[in-house]
Symmetry: T
Subunit: 169 residues, 12 copies
């Protein structure tokens, strides 16, 4: 279906190789977001304490946002004529976001979130560079998601700082 | 915290062993729901075709429902003094729900969903039995989720039947 | 489709006879609710008078509730692999809920509603007993409906009492 | 109550005979709509299959519409000083809308709906004619309902056509 | 402005006389509705008692409806190139809707409302006849308003009947 | 009913005379608001022109506000044990708000509105003074209404100024 | 499909010729509304100035209304067994609604709208006459649309008058 | 009005020629969207059949989206100091989207939509290139619209595939 | 915290004694409202009969209003640097609002409500007097609450009157 | 009223004694919930500090939930033919929930809430046991409420833990 | 415009001097609120940390409230025939609300807010005194705003206390 | 916190200087928006006249938009590790937006708005250029805001034109 159009940018036949590269990057992003969903459900339930409450609520609100990111990545993969992978291809990588020994150890969770967001920012920055000039639609979509992740990390860095000031992190 | 109360049913100290068994069952249920979330995102994006459209929409609506099931399981684990596991403990098991070779092969998806729902029904039926008389709160919660899954499987069995009648499944 | 699963409770093959009994009970319940819908439309329109107004509004709100009960019964019949019957199988039984001679005879309507609710309570109590231990999903659904009917009859018994105190019933 | 007014059109005393004729027509319409409600609940639950899904949803949405038609007919009967009949006067007539032998036989349902709508259109067309010039309020109300039914039949005729084109009807 | 169009029905120049007749009828209707607004505000505040409560609420809801009728009449007068009259041309006529001696005399209010509605029904029936075949837009609008008034009178006749049955009216 | 309470402020028996004075002031206010309703319906329909549009919309929004003022006055009369008067007691006084000769004469309408609002402000200022120290509830309610009227007159004075600046008023 | 029914009014076989005439009239109406949509989008964007603002907003709100009229005409054509035409059959006719030389020339736009509405009123009046007694459903639908158009033209005639009074039109 | 500003990017005086080129491209886009509106209204009404239902609904939802695109193009033309053209400049070009011979021929409609979307994608891709580095605001707006169109075409390509798999296209 | 400010009215240090007096009055008011909440829940459930229905609904709506009054009193106590008392300081005083012997004895409930409201009116009138000129914020808040209670008592006095007229109270 | 029905479970005449026992348990539960309402209003207002903020909001949201529990208990008492008690029967028992000496002593409040919830859990667990097999409707209702209380206590135990970890509790 | 009316209270000609004094007070209040808006935007963004989160959200919600206060002051200035000043007359005065050295220094922000609220309370208390007996409308409006500010300061005093208890402030 | 990451674009350590430049530009933008907020509140209150009404409403709607722009700038400053400035750093610059001598001088306001928007457009165009290739997130955000400002200026240029055509500007 997608053959023989040369004036459609990234959807043109001659762009196939580039498109496949982008699809691979998007698949990685797709699983990053889904792993984040899992760990945010986990970490929005486990911690104890008043201060943890703030963080749990913050994570719980983010679950929907991250899930929606995953769905956007999936849709874009489809639009670029790729196939969205299934759960058997999934491999967990966020070792730093696993539940801590002690459920009141909120610092552990905060650092884990910062790690996760940093990984996402680096990966999405790369997608922005790779798509520059060849696929403005994907680029645009990823910039918006990147903005979300930057703001989110900034918030958790602020949380961390407070604990550092108190000598707890 | 939970020591020394003997009139609180499943939360009593002497019920600890039973409680741990239930927690294990709930952890399994927790990951079943999360894997379903992943595969429903995937399968609500991949398939092509008009008839697939009906199925894609049906799955997309279910994503929220299944996610909410997962969150209920997580909360209950917490309430029973357990720890909700993180993504590193996750192991994919729904081989039958991976994307098919051919994206118009809707029968593959339908059968996969029925398999998934059957697994869930069996597992939840067991939880209902295990909690009988000892943890009515968990039982009540699981019966409601079980109802959802039965209704959902019934719908997809109907979908399958049509294809069988047409000799396509 | 439903063959060969032995760990699924009421949906197992060996439970077929029990399932058929439950289906018959549900069919009766299905028509009871639909007849109630008819008579509530009728009786929420016919009566005259200020006091009747209160009763008419009460019945009008109930129409949606009773219709939804009917739809729940229908869905459950289907989930148990039964066939929901059509209008030709319907036989009216609520002789006591027919429009009275005199449209201001509200007591006639009140007594009719109490009769209808009593019939429903008896029938649903029986379903709760029949499904005990074999079909918790149906049981759970019927208990909730039973609660609605008990509350509704109680309200109309209160209405009747007032008229009795005034020597009009 | 309604005696002695000569300039009120259909509500005047000298119009009593005409009014009674209209009331009879409205009672028939009232039961037609209620029988449709019953059979749409039934037929929005029974059928199996992906394509059936479209039809089931279409019928399910119609239940509320048809119920509202019934309530309009009831109100109009009341306004014309008639008495809305109860369930004992109800006689099922839509033999063609009973559940088919085979639950995947969607054509059976489609034809049944067309039959039902055709009956309604004929009856309502007659009411429009009978009320011409004597009861514009009833006429107006029935024209609007007639419009709904025409549009609905047209939709199901389109469904039927597709099956005819495939040689299945 | 409105000269020289001959194919526009009631808005044509040669229809001017007929149009003026209709405008006069609409002005009367306009003031009828406004007087009703005044008296419904009054009578939805004055009466005392539990039973009066029902009637007060019924009238209060009607205030908006009657006001909206007045605004529709005003707009139609304008559309027919007439001038909507001001308060100096207003003359009260609903002597029967004035506050009674005794504020618990609900029957007085009920009868007043029936009188008012009867007057409106007669006047609007006349407008329907006058516009027959020459101004379908006005006719259509008035039929809808007529329907409201018929239903409203019917309701209050029912209220009256109850009091008559109790020998209080 | 209201006898024998001496510590209830304006509702005490010994305050009866004062209360009757306040009721008379409130009755006048009641009819002022209702006449405004009538004339705003009229003047929000009659005028022609783009600039008139602004004024028509402004008046149309005010209809609801003024009606609500009337309802507040009525309720307060009732609470003070007075009787709200009916339409036969109504006498039109806003000669300046009648429809002008020429429907594009917007200045006429603006001046009429200012006159009406000025009358209201003077009357309500008096009520505020009369109730000072004896009936804080009425005073409070009237101050809020007074604020509305002051703001409204200010707006129309601004409209007038523009026309004066253009030498048209 | 539509053959062999003799008691269904305009949908009967013997009414086919009449039905075709009505369909032709509806097709013309369909394109009139669509051309209006185009020109209202254009004219709600182009004009400059404060007074133009009022007109632009008025037109922008009308876009949805006119589009909905077009969709109603399309649906009715379909219900009468006709085929809705595509864009190739479209021919622009509203020369008077093209953008003026000078974008502050609001009078040009006002006159264009009046012309367009006048054309619509004449055409719809004819449809009302043609369907009299043979197709009450179409007639009813068109009368409602006719009312909208009459009210809209009346508004713009008022706008024009103001400019005429100022000697600018 | 727009003269003499040199630091405002595309709105600067020295960018006038470039701006005019962009305006021409936007005018073409404007009419493409409007023609799509017309043909989607047509094609969301004509087709028959269960499967067509899905496509009709899909098109009906798109009408609002395409209309909103047209309004965005119009606004941008205005912002760049151009004049939005009227209906007389409109020329239909989507021959492939005209109603087919046979109303159950859904494949015809699907192919027409793909053609239309392809045309749009090519034209908008060109606008994105032309505005690169000179008018980021227009570019941003068009990228977002381009994304919509790509997603939409992708959906209909999926529909087409299914029919191809069945050998019907 | 609150020391050393002399120009802040009631919050100034030199106003401490006056403030303490006001706080005591507010505490009494706080418990009056809470006792009312309890008794309105009780009395909105117990009574039987159609007429009782009106009163039960009236009380049920009031529960929220009275609870909100209690919360306003609590907040104001806090703002004046007082401490809100707990349940151990609560002493029931509304002997007249206890459930009657006979559940159809509605007059008992009506009289109880009037007693309760009278007590509130007297107490709040006193607060209004005490705060005159020294704490306008508290005064303003209490006047608004006083208005609610006056209106409420007036309604129940009307209910009582009806029963008196019938010789039942 | 409730005599002579033997097949209605808990509502049967021979179940009267059991029913009375359940009613007594429900009355105790009714007052427990109401006392909680009082103390939550108090404790959601008194405490000071950033961390207290979280707890105050948590309690404020719970007020509605606890009130609704009380209303459910009241309704069920009524449905079982009991009489809901009034405020004179109320005796405060939650000594641990009274306001502390120091308003920043949040730990005092947290412990009080845990005490209150523990009492509720024990009492409701007993009701669940008492109703086992004889009154499934009450049992079902109480299990749901029990679930709320367990979740709530769990939350506050988490709060407490944090303070314990910091050595403040 | 405002000349020659002597019975309109503060709007009378002889009250001009008093009115000018009030206007000056309102201008100061206007700028106080606007400066608060600026500093709340700033301080709801800058601070870091979990506890800061609570304060940031509290400030962010207040932005809308303070802006609305500013708009009320502006409207009242206008109603009293004054001119609302522009930004050139604005002078910053809240030195204590500038961003601190260290972004985790939350105590600095809390103290700044208390200072700002104290200034507002003093100024508004003065307006209440100045308007006593001469301009009840302004007084009423300012009392309501004063209430907001008192409640807000009280909340932040509580925040401060907690830090004092911990020896951090 | 932000050290040591080299693959994160603008957030990398080596981009610090560039980041500081961007922060300075954003601070200026932040105060531009806040000054606009102040002046729009002022100018949406002061002007008199019918035509002014349109402009006042337009400005009032814009207040929220401009405030939201300010909040976006503040958030972005924070995300880039800058500190948002407080009110002491604010310096008014929009001399052209101060209230005119004569409150009916609308042209003065229009010209002021155009000046303000032109300043914003120039400044934001510069930010877009400065961030090109180094900070796509900021660039994207500013382009969207730039679009708003361009559209807004265009509207007011149109307003101005009308007055110029009338020789008043």
């Amino acid at each position: 279906m997608e053959t023989g159009r040369s004036s459609e940018g990234i959807l043109s036949e001659e762009m196939k190789q580039k498109r496949d590269e982008i699809i691979e990057l998007l698949k990685t992003a797709y699983f990053m977001e889904l792993e984040t969903v899992i760990n945010y459900v986990t970490n929005s339930t486990n911690p104890d304490g008043v201060r943890a409450q703030e963080i749990k609520e913050s994570l719980e609100e983010d679950i929907q946002e991250e899930l929606s990111h995953a769905q956007q990545f999936a849709s874009r993969i489809k639009e670029l004529y790729g196939v969205v992978p299934g759960s058997m291809d999934f491999e967990a990588e966020q070792g730093y976001l696993q539940p801590p020994q002690e459920q009141v150890d909120v610092v552990h969770v905060i650092k884990g979130v910062i790690e996760a967001e940093t990984g996402a920012i680096e990966h999405y920055t790369r997608i922005v560079e790779e798509t520059e000039g060849v696929d403005p639609v994907t680029q645009d979509m990823v910039i918006a998601i990147l903005h979300d992740e930057q703001g989110h990390r900034r918030l958790f860095e602020g949380f961390l700082r407070e604990y550092q000031a108190e000598g707890k992190a």
